[in-house]
């Protein structure tokens, strides 16, 4: 299981492929299911065009809370391995924000744990988005519920 913050733009599918190679050395033939989610910055949010976004976090607490969320998923489902990467800093539309991947023996646990990780992260991990639009900048006030 790897949980990391990324201060610069990252290539989620390349990262996933690299981590998959590591998973295969340990678990090939054991996992039957990989569920993955990638969240990407859109150029349009809540009815306005977005030019750039800044993702602030709370160094120390953010990493700690992500780790706790992962541990909660591991307790709840028979997870074999996982990868959670989250961007911080200045983003352009089209850039990835978050990658969540979960390997399990069977599909139901993979889907459930992957969904749990992204929902818990959005609800509890201390990140804050500030969007710059043609009409100025504003803090995003809340996340949309699942």
């Amino acid at each position: 299981m790897r949980v990391e913050l990324r201060p610069a733009s990252f290539a989620p599918l390349a990262e996933l492929a690299a981590y998959q190679a590591e998973v295969d050395t340990r678990l090939l033939g054991q996992y039957g299911a990989l569920s993955m989610f990638i969240g990407t910055m859109r150029d349009f949010n809540d009815g306005h065009a977005v030019q750039t976004m800044n993702l602030e976090h709370y160094p120390g607490m953010t990493e700690y809370q992500l780790q706790r969320i992962a541990e909660a998923a591991w307790r709840q489902w028979p997870v074999l391995d996982g990868l959670l990467l989250h961007r911080v800093g200045a983003l352009q539309p089209g850039e990835p924000i978050v990658l969540v991947a979960v390997w399990t023996a069977q599909r139901a646990a993979a889907f459930s744990a992957c969904r749990f990780l992204i929902e818990e992260l959005k609800a509890k991990a201390p990140f804050w988005k500030r969007e710059e639009t043609g009409q100025g900048a504003h803090w995003v006030s809340h996340n949309t519920p699942a």
């Binding site: 809370q65 989250h86 978050v98 990140f127 804050w128 996340n143």
Partner: protein, 77 residues
Amino acid sequence: MTIQVKYFASLRDRLGRDGDELESVSGLTVAGVWAALHPKTPLPPNTLAAVNLEYASLEQAVRAGDEVAFFPPVTGG
């Protein structure tokens, strides 16, 4: 010993600084930390608090050496 206080995101912008230091006194709570530092500014609605990187209620006790943080609802992912 002191208490380190941190502000994030829109709350930091509003206060114009990213933190404060406060002398520890006995019987202090999270709400008491805010009140001591911002006697004229009620805690904005929906503000979240953390003590030593864990989410905390406003009633939670705060001790010397603790790190207390205040921030708006989180919007990651």
